[in-house]
Symmetry: C2
Subunit: 329 residues, 2 copies
DNA sequence: CTGTTAGCGCATTCAA
DNA sequence: TTGAATGCGCTAACAG
């Protein structure tokens, strides 16, 4: 690989001048510029990133640690975050915690080693020692999707309470009474918040308060099926099911099919998260549209603001409701 | 941030010894080890990755450039690749070409700048100048999912021909004659190969050869819908639809619903790629199971072999067929 | 087994 | 506007 020295030699200039031309950091003569670009082009010169990072003590890389890249919510978020970062001159190093605090800790360490300029994180519950250490080190940090209580880190989250409110209103309008709730883990702010909003709101809209109707999973397909199975196993026969995320919705439907057979087609479904295939599912799945792309974009924008010394504050991203139910049902 | 010098000072040893202890590269006394670990722990020392990379002229990072991270096939592949790499001591830098050769070129350049140790690539068709340059530079390179003709780069691909064969047999067994084909872009090896296999195999199993039944998209949802719409627009009324990937299948179904209404429920569906929600779709979607995780794992394994100087050869990953159709239909 | 030191490639300071 | 020289943090070569 050609180095800056090679370019300098070929251009008949010093490395200092080459560096200045390529970075545009200070005045250079038109002649120098011409010669440098010519030499660099001929040699196919590409600056050595690690050397640059070492010297400048910044990497122009931000980390993005998501919970589960196979969850469409996060792949959408990651995609949008990456686009936003590219537009602002940063590269995204993407990692996947697999909903596992141990893996999260490992990546936090790896990110620290890479000397990323900042981190966008969808945290796995509790504030791990690794995370506290990172934070103490002054690394710019923004949380997405989930918050961590007890620590004042800016966060970009969905307005879960508003989303649940929309679901409750819809359930009432459709005349439901026995509604099953497949929630997320209480250890995550999203799981706790949606559950809390749902449970306290249930009474107001006249839903059954039977605890047998409520169970929880971990935001992955299999856990949604298991939770649904437990609910049915307790003898509950809900007329509608509300799942706290898109993947658990799939699991819940699988369980309904397996346990109830054709009767499952009569159960109304509503989800927090709108996946693209919901549009063709049967029975139709109504959903709170949880704007993953917007969360990703805002997360990166906030992080870049932080890195560049600007103030940022936490934000809630609004939600909308997509009603796909048959009018009559 | 603490440096190796700080650790050395605190441990009362030289930086050389600290480096040796931490890397385990050569014999060190038990006493040195104890003191180094103690000092490093107290200081929260984490080695500076860029400096390390500069000195060692390797980064222990491999690039993974996929076509579309929102496509479940690739998010599954990426997830498996990342796990495999972690097990072998490498970090994955994931990037997303968005099915766009220009973005691909940009990332190839960025990767070169980061001095990644190797690259796993799902190429966007033609061999770009950037790619040829990378290859000429001697960067270890493995293609996944798609090949590039004219260049001898090891590849890990799905056995498309075998998959299509399974679909053809299934179509014949179900007694179809008018079958629509929503293919992938001819510019990609997967698109070309599946189309070729399908078109030549059609005759043998007695399917209609009507060109109106064949169209193509770009492996994304919207394009599948458009292709299906064009097929229907030509007056074709297929009894079954075969789509060349999972996302286009969704698009095709959306179009069938929109254009044919309830009649669409009578159309048999079969896809190349099996997505998890296919299990609950209606009408049922049968599919060739395209093992993204296995491709990701093998791609990384092959790349690491290449990096470490071992020989590798191209591989085809076998497919299986998931028949979900109603027996009678 | 350990200490000392050169130098990886680059940006930047200091002189000119 | 440019060249020369320094040092970022680390590993490895060398000497002891």
């Amino acid at each position: 690989m050609a180095t800056i020295k090679d370019v300098a030699a070929r251009a008949g200039l010093s490395v200092g001048t080459v560096s200045r031309v390529l970075s545009g950091s200070s005045k250079t003569s038109a002649d120098s510029r011409r010669r440098v670009f010519a030499a660099a082009g001929e040699l196919g010169y590409i600056a050595h990133g690690p050397a640059r990072s070492l010297r400048r003590s910044r990497t122009d890389v931000i980390g993005l640690l998501v919970s589960d890249i196979r969850n469409p919510f996060f792949s959408e978020l990651a995609h949008a975050a990456e686009r936003e970062a590219a537009g602002r001159g940063y590269t995204v190093l993407l990692a996947n915690a697999d909903e596992d605090p141990m893996q999260e800790a490992g990546y936090l360490r790896a990110f620290a080693g890479q000397r990323i300029d900042g981190l966008v994180l969808a945290p796995q519950g509790g504030d791990s020692p690794q995370l506290l250490k990172l934070r103490a080190s002054g690394l710019p940090l923004v949380l997405v999707d989930r918050t961590l209580d007890g620590v004042a880190i800016p966060s970009i989250t969905t307005d879960s309470a508003a989303g649940v409110r929309l679901v409750l209103d819809w359930l009432r309008a459709r005349g439901h009474h026995e509604v099953a709730y497949v929630g997320g883990p209480a250890s995550l702010s999203t799981g706790a918040e949606r559950r809390e909003s749902y449970l306290t709101g249930r009474a107001e809209v006249g839903l059954s308060l039977d605890p047998a109707l409520v169970d929880e999973g971990d935001f992955r397909v299999g856990s949604g099926a298991e939770a649904m199975r437990r609910i049915l196993g307790r003898g509950a026969r809900p007329t509608a099911v509300f799942a706290a995320d898109g993947l658990m919705t799939l699991g819940a439907i699988q369980a309904l099919r397996a346990e109830l057979g054709d009767a499952s087609y009569g159960v109304d479904l509503v989800a927090f998260d709108d996946l693209d295939w919901f549009s063709i599912a049967w029975p139709p799945i109504s959903a709170v549209r949880n704007d993953a792309a917007e969360i990703g974009r805002r997360g990166v924008a906030a992080l870049v603001d932080l890195i560049e010394g600007r103030q940022v504050s936490s934000q809630r991203v609004p939600v909308t409701f997509v009603d796909r139910a048959e009018p009559g049902a």
